[in-house]
């Protein structure tokens, strides 16, 4: 006799009963189950957008050396573009915010190592002469360029700076370069400054003329300064002083309404100057290759 399982103890309902039930429950169903055939669907984009098989690569950033060793460069020239510091800035070179190495002085590029500075780093530096070599020997005096020229200060400025002090020997007018060398060679015999300077010499001396009349007053906000109306009239008073001496501070003659000839002259001067400047620039560009 077959074993009776508890499941088979209850008899299954007949097919008629089942169809009746399903008809009754059809209206209560939320959605009809769709029976679709399984079609394989492939999507153009995956979850990782843009990558099919391997990681996407961006456009090349043109990193690397832009000036080779020995090339002549001027300040600001980019020497090496990099991500991070493969190379460090050496003598007369500096690094920008994205680790780009620029030249800091006009000269010739050198790629080198300097174990005294750092045991592992590589440097890019500038030398001033093609025969010079980096790194410099330890404790050597640094190589530096002045990169400046000496000019005589304009007369008005130097007048303003001259003090009311008796200068013992009259200083002869000499060209700037000779004057400097002359002073430095004979410095042993220089007069020593007086042990006690008089108060006048010690205080700041203003230049003669309009500045004498400008006096500092306590303005609102606890600042000591000349008042605005004095500042505003400074130019006018300067012109008045100059005219008293027979000179003028004006670059152009005072405008006279109706004098078209003077106006034309002034604009003609300006136009000529601009044309000249443009012509100079054009000539330079044409000459370069």
């Amino acid at each position: 006799m077959p074993a009776i399982s508890p499941l088979s103890a209850a008899r299954a309902p007949s097919t008629a009963t089942l169809s009746l039930l399903s008809n009754a429950l059809r209206d209560l169903r939320i959605a009809a189950p769709t029976v679709t055939q399984h079609i394989q669907s492939r999507y153009a984009s995956h979850q990782a957008q843009g990558r099919a098989n391997k990681a996407a690569d961006g456009a090349g950033k043109r990193l690397g050396a832009k000036k080779t060793g020995g090339e002549y460069v001027i300040p600001g020239n980019i020497l090496f573009k990099q991500r991070g510091t493969h190379w460090f800035p050496g003598d007369h070179a500096f690094m920008g915010r994205d680790h780009t190495i620029h030249a800091g002085a006009p000269g010739y590029v050198r790629y080198y190592r300097d174990p005294a500075r750092h045991p592992k780093r590589k440097y890019i530096g500038i030398v001033f002469d093609p025969k010079q070599v980096l790194p410099q020997p330890p404790h050597a005096v640094r190589r530096r360029q002045l990169g400046m020229l000496a000019y005589q200060m304009p007369a008005s400025v130097s007048e303003a700076l001259t003090l009311n002090v008796e200068i013992a020997a009259e200083v002869p007018a000499v060209p700037v370069t000779d004057a400097l060398s002359a002073s430095e060679s004979s410095d042993v015999a220089l007069p020593t400054p007086p042990a006690r300077l008089n108060k006048q010499a010690r205080t700041l001396r203003r230049s003669r003329g309009i500045l004498d009349s400008l006096h500092l007053t306590l303005r609102p906000g606890y600042q000591y300064r000349t008042s605005n109306h004095e500042i505003g009239r400074a130019a006018e008073r300067k012109e008045a002083l100059a005219q008293a001496k027979g000179k003028t501070t004006r670059a152009y003659d005072e405008f006279k309404k109706g004098d078209r000839f003077a106006a034309w002259r002034k604009s003609a001067v300006r136009i000529a100057r601009n044309n000249e400047r443009r012509a100079m620039g054009r000539g330079k560009k044409g000459g370069k290759k």
Binding site: I74, A150, V165, A179, S183, E184, P194, L204
Partner: protein, 435 residues
């Protein structure tokens, strides 16, 4: 002052006398003016004493000081009647009651006194070692040695002396009174322990700062190849201190400064002070030159006598080049005025410091030229040892023209402007590339 605005909120709360307090409050201060104040206010808030002549039932309660009650009964009275707790330990209060000025070494703390006893025993031992070492040195010096062993004997004596100095330090290093005296600035720098403490203090911060400034400003290697500062320097112009590397107004530096040189080993020695400017612009060479602003030798300095007024040194025996005011011409970069302290050589055997013949140097002519002064050569020639360095900077300011004129220096009306660098030739591409 009842309620001080400067006191914190908690302090004010504790000191507040408006509210009735059931429990006495113990604060952290050892001095308790507020307690006495509260005492006073409470005393004043107490009912006025009965008029004279009237009989009183209870005797007037005696006011006790919380700092000096030492008996149990007195403490109880203080707490119960005055509502204040005593301050500190009973031993302390007893000591203060006897006298207010207890010397540091007699402070009545047991652990402290035990420790003091240990340190005193150790010091006694060290003093004994010092005595023994001194005797040893004397005995060894008295020994006769063969001429070929003289150098070895001298070296050994020097080593023994060094050991003796170490022992002197060890005897005093644990003394709290020494430490306190040094921190209060009362240390006598003739004694090795105070010199050691001062040296240690200098090296802990100010020397590292000095070295940082010197290396960042490239004084070394521009002027001298290397330096190991052993003496500390303090520079001041017209009484105003100048920190290492500070910018000094040209009018301030017109007159010679005052320099304090502090050595940390004993004895007098002779120094040479030199001020060199390595940033003098030279337009022809497109480079920089050196200029010596001051040079003086045979300056005697000891650990207690440290001040040198450079303007007051003797012209005959000391000053080779007098003070030239520091100046920076307009437009030129700032000028570094580096000051070096160079120790003069010791003569062999005698231990005396050699003087430099100033007259001979002046007559020689090589080192009397300010412009192009080579300090490396001067140091090598006279066997000097760089032991100290200082730095100040100068640039063009309102007073520079005046300073240069008064000193008779040519070039006060010279302005430096940057040279135009010719741009590199570039081939101009067609306009499409520049869109």
């Amino acid at each position: 002052m009842a309620l001080d605005r400067s006191a914190g909120r908690l302090a004010r709360c504790i000191r507040c006398t408006r509210h009735e307090r059931t429990l006495p409050i113990r604060t952290f201060t050892t001095t308790a003016p507020s307690r006495l104040e509260t005492q006073e206010t409470q005393a004043s808030s107490e009912p006025p004493p009965p008029p004279a002549g009237a009989t009183t039932d209870a005797p007037k309660p005696r006011l006790r000081d919380p700092n000096t009650v030492s008996t149990r009964a007195a403490e109880q009275q203080l707490i119960q009647h005055q509502r204040i707790t005593p301050v500190g330990s009973r031993r302390r209060r007893a000591a203060i009651a006897s006298t207010s000025n207890i010397p540091f070494s007699e402070l009545p703390y047991q652990c402290f006194q035990e420790a003091r006893a240990v340190l005193q025993a150790d010091r006694k031992q060290k003093l004994e070692h010092i005595r023994v070492q001194r005797e040893r040195i004397e005995r060894f010096k008295a020994k006769d040695v063969a001429p070929q062993d003289e150098a070895h004997k001298e070296k050994k004596v020097a080593d023994m002396r060094r050991r003796l100095e170490e022992q002197k330090i060890l005897a005093d290093i644990n003394d709290p009174v020494v430490k306190r005296k040094f921190e209060d600035g009362e240390g006598d720098l003739n004694k090795p322990i105070y010199r050691l403490l001062a040296d240690r203090q200098w090296r802990s911060y100010r020397r590292t700062l000095l070295l940082q400034r010197i290396t960042q400003m490239n004084v070394v290697p521009d002027v001298l190849p290397a330096i190991d500062p052993v003496v500390s320097t303090a520079l001041s112009f017209a009484g105003k201190r100048v920190q290492h590397g500070d910018f000094v107004d040209s009018r301030m530096s017109e007159l010679a400064p005052s320099l304090q040189i502090q050595p940390y080993d004993k004895g007098k020695r002779l120094y040479t002070v030199v001020v060199v400017n390595p940033d003098v612009p030279n337009v022809q060479k497109d480079a920089f030159d050196y200029r010596c602003h001051f040079l003086a030798s045979n300056i005697e300095i000891s650990p207690t006598d440290t001040r040198v007024r450079l303007g007051l040194l003797g012209e005959e025996g000391q000053v080779i080049l007098p003070w030239l005011p520091a100046y920076g011409q307009k437009g030129a970069p700032y000028q570094r005025m580096s000051m070096f302290v160079l120790e003069q050589a010791k003569s062999e055997g005698g231990g005396e410091f050699q003087t430099i013949d100033v007259a001979a140097v002046k007559a020689g002519g090589k080192y009397t030229q300010r412009h192009g002064f080579n300090l490396r050569s001067f140091v090598d020639k006279h066997l000097l040892k760089p032991v100290g360095v200082d730095l100040f900077r100068t640039k063009w300011d309102e007073g520079t023209a005046g300073v240069m004129q008064r000193a008779g220096i040519v070039g006060w009306d010279v302005e430096f402007k940057r040279k135009r660098v010719e741009p590199l030739p570039y081939k101009r591409m067609d306009s499409v590339r520049y869109r």
